[in-house]
């Protein structure tokens, strides 16, 4: 017994000793060595010590003051030296671009006339016609700030049928070439098998490149523009919308990560795609490659080809694209691939695997908000990485893909205009877009910095900045008929609008051939009334960005509109909640007429609407700027010639920007349809005795004119073709005051006048 216990105790003591040495033994030698080193003051594995001795400051107090050496080199000379030294691969705007050409006439782009016998690819033709149709175009090289060649430079792959020969000589012979200064060269493909260099095969001189698949090494920051690779079929204007129709939460789809594409057995760009099979799991990570491409693929065929090819044929690319959370975009022969835009449109978050690719428009787009930038070297970590991304982030990435696709990529026009706007921002540095304007809805093409560089001046950023629009509006009354009687609706309108607590001022735009009435003939109002005489008396002038409009909100009115103060007040409070949309009273709708295969316009009483007439509507003053400066002259002059459709065009514009319908608010008086017999439901005139547009005025006759209605159909179709798609969106909602027609005392209602007939 005793012996047993003794042994037991001895054993446990021994075990404890072993434990002691195990724990201490590892630690002690290290500690000892630390002490050894500390004797020399050499302690690599210690945090940075807190030194007690006084250290010298970086700069002596008077250092900057005595930078006298600074004073002998002329800064002007220094600038000149820079501009002469940094050429070629080191070109920058400062050294290879002549800003002087842009100062005289603004940012104008000249396109060389097309020469006979020169073949131009369809894609390049689309690029050129986009420029020619844009507001930047000038046909006079003397006015131009930027020059674009008519020689097709898109495909510089010598093996390609589109390759243009002797480009070097042809370009050198251009009289305006000037060593490429202020020239922009578009390119999608450069180099050829086997090395696919980024050289275009001719001397580009000091020209800027707008190039796809450009590498960060060759990319001249803030000089070149990286554009996406797009196919021949990419639409010129409009373009398909993104595939995301609604957000699903949680945002996971059937597949986590997919890819389907060629595998290059040898040569540049083959490594990454050759390694994809390591990550493929045939379940939620499906990465498929095929060896079947090119003439002699069998010759280079490796052991995996047959198996890969078989797996490849099992899956449908489209199905995968639309049902995957992430899409892999590995480099092809060149850095960019078609997979990128496809994934973007499909709301499949691109996972970039193309080291050194200067991503499309990376100068302005923050790609971390819409894509996962992977590293080819860390391919095996990619599944873990994408799985670690939180679902909130996925939801946000996915929506951003759709925003970017529609804002900058869905058509050749958008790609080209984005390129030009980026360059314009560089040229007009102090009036350029901030990153927020480019990376949030509605995007840079709809956010013109010439209007203001301040985010708070636009209708789009109030929520982001946590601010509100000014709580006032400016009424703009479009007057076309002479002032003959004191009972004319315009005078009543002036009074009732002027009484609104939110009215800052009233602008009367005198677009009538008769001279201005005397000042005393206008009624007395508590707010200032400013009368502007329209210079050319055209319809579009009602949407000019007048300097006198200082409020964020504009209440646009026809001279014969009948509105009460309460109605105006209510509409304005609604607008404050929706400052980027049109808020107004009479609404209209569009529909697709499948018999005639064109858009139809209807004013009948329907359960939905897509337009709100600007004869009585509130919207942000920025839309005046956009209407005047963004829309092409062709559409504006059509409106002016017809003296019609300006309201439709404004609705097209605002819906194209917001992707949302306008907002109809309730109104006191029912609006009578003057287009009787034209469409739909017959309306008993006796039911609607109060007409918004009273009879007798010149405008009413305009509305009664049957041509007027037909013109509006024509306008719709013309506008839709310019926008490339139908931007209007239907709504079934009308906004009423909270207690509107509820069974409570009228005295409890704030906007009670709206209910009273």
């Amino acid at each position: 017994m005793q012996a047993k216990k003794r042994y037991l105790i001895l054993l446990s003591a021994g075990a404890s000793l072993v434990l002691l040495f195990y724990l201490g033994g590892v630690e002690l030698p290290a500690a000892r060595s630390r002490h050894d080193r500390s004797r020399h003051g050499y302690r690599p594995d210690q945090p940075w010590p807190h030194f007690s001795d006084p250290l010298q400051p970086l700069l002596a107090w008077d250092h900057t003051d005595t930078e006298e050496y600074n004073l002998h080199v002329s800064p002007r000379q220094k600038r000149d030296v820079n501009t002469s030294v940094y050429k070629g691969k080191r070109c920058r705007m400062d050294s290879c671009f002549d800003f002087g050409l842009c100062q005289r006439n603004g940012f104008k782009v000249y396109v060389y006339p097309q020469q006979k016998g020169e073949k131009i690819s369809e894609s390049y033709q689309n690029i050129l016609s986009t420029i020619e149709g844009s507001r930047f175009y000038t046909s006079d090289p003397g006015q131009a700030c930027l020059f674009v060649l008519s020689l097709d430079t898109l495909d510089r792959d010598q093996l390609s049928p589109q390759y243009v020969h002797n480009l070097k000589t042809k370009i050198q012979n251009l009289p305006l070439w000037n060593d490429g200064r202020n020239h922009l060269i578009f390119n999608l493909y450069s180099g050829t098998w086997p090395d696919y260099t980024e050289d275009l095969g001719f001397d580009i001189g000091q020209a800027m490149l707008a190039k796809a698949s450009i590498s960060t090494e060759n990319f001249r920051a803030n000089f070149d523009v990286s554009i996406p690779l797009f196919s021949k079929e990419h639409p010129r204007t409009g373009g398909d919308r993104g595939f995301l129709k609604y957000n699903s939460i949680p945002p996971f789809r059937k597949y986590m990560l997919v890819f389907k594409g060629k595998r290059y057995l040898t040569g540049i760009g083959s490594d990454t795609r050759n390694a994809l099979y390591h990550v493929h799991n045939a379940e939620d990570v499906v990465l498929l490659t095929t060896c079947k491409h090119g003439k002699d693929w069998q010759k280079h065929k490796d052991a995996r080809c047959d198996k890969d090819n078989a797996e490849y044929d099992k899956y449908d690319y489209k199905e995968m694209l639309h049902n995957s959370t992430f899409c892999l975009v590995p480099r092809g022969r060149r850095l960019g691939s078609f997979r990128f835009l496809e994934a973007l449109q499909a709301a499949c978050v691109p996972v970039m695997l193309s080291n050194g690719w200067a991503l499309p428009f990376s100068e302005i787009i923050d790609w971390n908000t819409a894509a996962v930038i992977g590293d080819e070297r860390l391919l095996l970590q990619i599944p873990t990485t994408v799985r670690s991304i939180h679902q909130d982030k996925i939801l946000s990435l996915r929506q951003q893909t759709q925003f970017l696709w529609e804002a900058y990529f869905s058509s050749v026009e958008k790609i080209v205009l984005t390129t030009l706007e980026i360059i314009q921002d560089r040229v007009q540095e102090h009036g350029s877009r901030s990153s927020l304007m480019w990376n949030s809805h509605p995007g840079g093409l709809f956010t013109l910095p010439q209007y203001s560089a301040y985010l708070g001046d636009f209708p789009f950023f109030y929520a982001t900045l946590g601010i509100k629009p000014l709580p006032k509006f400016t009424a703009v009354i479009h007057a076309v008929s002479p002032l003959v009687s004191q009972s004319q609706p315009i005078l009543k309108l002036l009074v009732s609008v002027g009484k609104s607590q939110y009215c800052a001022q009233i602008v009367v735009l005198w677009n009538c051939d008769k001279p201005l009435p005397a000042k005393h003939r206008w009624p007395a109002t508590s707010v200032p009334v400013i009368v502007i005489e329209g210079e050319n008396k055209v319809m579009s002038s009602r949407f000019l960005p007048y300097d006198t409009i200082v409020t964020d909100a504009v209440l646009s009115l026809d001279e014969d509109t009948v509105l009460s103060t309460t109605e105006v007040d209510f509409a304005f409070t609604v607008w404050q909640s929706f400052p980027e949309r049109i808020v107004g009273y009479p609404a209209r709708s569009h529909f697709w007429d499948s018999n005639k295969e064109r858009w139809g316009y209807t004013s009948k009483w329907t359960n939905d609407y897509s337009m709100v007439l600007t004869g009585a509507a509130i919207y942000h003053r920025y839309y005046h700027h956009l209407y005047t400066n963004y829309l092409p002259t062709s559409l504006k002059s059509m409106v002016d010639q017809l003296a019609n459709c300006e309201d439709i065009l404004m609705n097209f514009l605002v819906s194209a920007v917001t992707k949302l319908p306008p907002i109809k608010v309730t109104q006191k008086k029912q609006y009578k349809e003057t287009m009787m017999g034209q469409v739909g439901v017959s309306i008993n005139l006796k039911t609607f005795p109060n007409l918004l547009f009273s009879s007798g005025s010149s405008r009413a006759s305009r509305w009664a004119d049957p041509d007027h209605f037909a013109q509006r159909q024509t306008c719709m179709n013309k506008f839709a073709s310019w926008f490339g798609a139908m931007p209007l969106v239907h709504s079934q909602m009308r906004l009423d005051p909270v207690l509107f027609k509820d069974q409570v005392s009228i005295l409890r209602k704030k906007y009670r006048d709206i209910e009273r007939l």
Binding site: L23, P44, N70, L395
Partner: protein
Amino acid sequence: MYATGKYTSRGPALIPRMKTKHRIYYITLFSVVLLGLIATGMFQFWPHSIESTADWTIEKRSVHDAPLIHLPVSSPIPERGDLSCRMHTCFDVYRCGYNPKNRIKVYIYPLQKFVDELGVPISSTGLSREYNDLLSAISDSDFYTDDVTRACLFIPSIDVLNQNSLRIRETAQAFAMLPRWDKGMNHLLFNMLPGGPPDYNTALDVPRDRALLAGGGFSTWTYRQGYDVSIPVYSPLSADVELPERQPGPRRYFILSSQTAIHREYRGELERLKEENGEALLLLDKCTNLSQGAASARKRCYKGQVYDYPQILQESSFCVVLRGARLGQAALSDVLQAGCVPIILADSYILPFSEVLDWKRASVVIPEEKLSEMYSILKSIPHRQVEEMQRQARWFWEAYFSSMKAIGLTTLQIINDRIYPYAARTYEQWNNPPVVKWASVNSPLFLPLIPPRAPGFTAVVLTYDRVESLFRVITEISKVPSLAKLLVVWNNQNKSPPEGNLKKFKCPECTAIDGLSLDQTHMVERSECINKFASVFGTMPLKVVEHRADPVLYKDDFPEKLKSFPNIGSL
């Protein structure tokens, strides 16, 4: 000792029939083992507290205790620095690896003193106060690791902030001698004053192989986009002068120029602007009557009138930051601190942290050539924008300029964001000052989408035990065509939900009255909730509107059968 004593006293009970001699032997053995274990445990689990208290006393001694390293003349010199370096070519990402925290690990070399064969040090100043601050901030941060084998980024303790105090060749040799140098891979150097007379290069002239450079004063020709980091030139006034934050708004002067080493060509142009615009411009220079030194650095003069610097910066809406021999100017930091909007005139200058900061919202960049047009350019900027810029400028200083710590950690965060781009800080996080972060509303569903009816909706019905009203809700809602799924949340733990066919269930104790909302205490409770929630949110997030959504033809005098939603409001 106490523990041992306890065991001793309990000895007989534990080992009852043992001889005293043996007992003492075992007890001693036991005590030794136990003490040893305790000591080891202490050593294991609190090593830092034990060592560090001891170390501070040792380490606090002096920088002069740093070991001396002699550089042989023939010691290798790194290559000049490759302009084509990018993260994917010159940076070894494998060292950073996958990391669940998405945080890079940074190692700092211990301080050494490098001297040439004659014993002359490579730097005239040695470790500067600023570089010491920077390194201690990093070593106190989450980025720091003391394990050189786990590090992703290495920071030499050789101070190259100011190139003027360096011997170029020897400094380069010292870099090459660092044990983990490996062609400069994953090494980060901080430099604020690059170049030297006469041509003032815009990047550090010390040959540095592939090392990343966090440099103040890069030009577009020396900056390797996506590889280098452009940092501010730290102003010592940041630490020495406290300028209270001022509300954005108009200031006494419109434009202020306070730099003292402005080239005479530019000073001439500024003077012409002053002549044209008078009082709106204040054009200061150094005071000639004051002696050199700290006092004179804090004074500026105009025609004999003395102004306090940097306080005077707070009196102007815009402040000129003109390039000197170098592009980066410490004045930028002072100007931002004062909440004055910087007018930056430095062609081809890469603004500090421009990779992440949106300078268009905080500054006005004007080409040097257009200095004479400065006044009209600035006049065209709306007041509200100037105010936003003033606020933004101050915020940039507070967050990214105010200390060497801020500068150092921002630099590391930028590099961190490149290595883990999917976990990078967002534009809003970088650029929105706290006041905007609080006030702004960013919907997680920000894409303007009008979803189709196809997927329909899921109805979630919360119920306690008012089964009758539950049935009424279910019956009504199941008529809706777009209903995809109906989910009933049974919120009564004492009773199980009615089983089987819900429709046949009758509930005798149910009352039809919706009594809750009439109950006074209920309303009081809900008011309390609102107050509690508002205090947790720190603000009242609810907004009041006066409108309500109705169908387009709601209550219009119009045939009911032609309306899409004729039953609304017809209770």
